[in-house]
Symmetry: C2
């Protein structure tokens, strides 16, 4: 179980200036979440969908709960009946995708095949995951976690841990390939990792779920490019 | 001459709600810009440096002129004595880098070498450009221009044209390589372009100007990975 899963639904908005400082709203929300009334569940889904569009267009930091409310012709107080705040909405959207991606790439890193097979599997798994969870993994990838995007440290920690698991698994695969001699000695493992992460993560800028290729097909095409290069006849080094 | 150059210094803030609606501030700014008084120039540089940090951490859209003023322990009115607004500051920062990158990649696209040589040159030119103009090309790349980041359409147009020149030149190089048979027939030209753009543009998340490699070295390492692949002994297709 990852910390993302554990902290997922329980991240509160920082400070008491939000309507969540009104404990009666928080109590009503918790009660409604237990009851799972179909109209409450449906409205909650509407809020998540509207929030997805706002987060994609503006990024996490520039998004306010009032922007999400505005997209629904509603007000902030209504949103707080469904979510503790912006961090809660964001984690609800991205958490399953981030958890799945981390598990997939960790499974690839621990698989029994050669480092080449493991790297190809990891690349395909990540682009496939981005497609299956579209656009939620991309919502996560577009945030630059070198900077604090929310003062809520629990939320920040959950996101950073997702990123670290992903990067660490990819590092292990590539270092194994370099050590074994399966990867060319001239290839710098760190640069290969950055090139692969770049190609895969940059899909957040162009991939469309109903385009001419599936996520898995994109991943296989990328894997082939990274494995063999683009040259029909590689020149001598 | 690109439209970025032409519109560069003259983009005004939209609306009249900003202090720039006060034409006396605009007049004083224009006069100061003509005079180039050393203390005015020095203060303008301080504002640009503070704005760079704020834009990097928050992105264009989430940044307000008051955030930049706050970083300088100053106020918005003071900033408007130096710049017409946020769009003006941003273009002043990124315009030389974007113009240089576009010219470099267009020069690579029109060079006389083989498509392979042109692609390797373009990759190296872009990462070198990101280093020489650090962090201003990255400031541009981190913005997702599929979404409107500013209601000022002239500003939006200038940024989009920079991106389009860059992408179009890269497309021409890769299509030439595919047509000539120099690139493997199995490599999808669009996917190769997205993989290269991903690796190059993703440097905005990790490249440090005083790290162990220069931008040009990163570009040469990426070029080698894309040209030959990572496999020491490529498996049969």
């Amino acid at each position: 179980m990852s910390s993302i899963t554990r902290t997922g639904g329980r991240v509160a908005e920082p400070g008491s200036a939000t309507p969540d400082g009104d404990s009666s709203i928080a109590r009503r929300r918790k009660l409604a979440a237990l009851e799972q009334n179909p109209s409450w569940v449906a409205r909650r889904r509407q809020i998540l969908d509207a929030a997805t569009e706002v987060f994609r267009a503006k990024g996490y930091r520039a998004t306010a709960v009032s922007d999400i409310a505005h997209a629904l012709h509603s007000d902030r107080a209504n949103i707080y009946y469904y979510f503790a705040g912006k961090a809660d909405i964001f984690l609800t959207l991205v958490q399953p995708a981030v958890e799945d991606a981390a598990l997939e790439i960790e499974a690839a890193a621990e698989a029994t095949g050669s480092p080449t097979d493991r790297l190809l599997r990891a690349i395909e798994a990540l682009t496939d995951c981005a497609h299956r969870h579209f656009p939620y993994l991309h919502l996560f990838v577009q945030e630059d976690l070198r900077y604090v995007i929310d003062e809520n440290t629990e939320f920040e920690h959950a996101l950073r841990q997702g990123r670290d698991r992903y990067e660490s698994a990819l590092r292990r695969i590539i270092e194994a390939g370099a050590r074994s001699g399966e990867f060319r000695a001239e290839v710098d493992p760190t640069l290969l990792r950055f090139a692969v992460m770049g190609a895969v993560n940059w899909t957040h800028r162009w991939f469309a779920p109903h385009g001419r290729m599936t996520g898995a097909e994109v991943g296989r095409a990328f894997g082939d490019i990274f494995l063999r290069g683009f040259a029909a006849t590689p020149p001598e080094a």
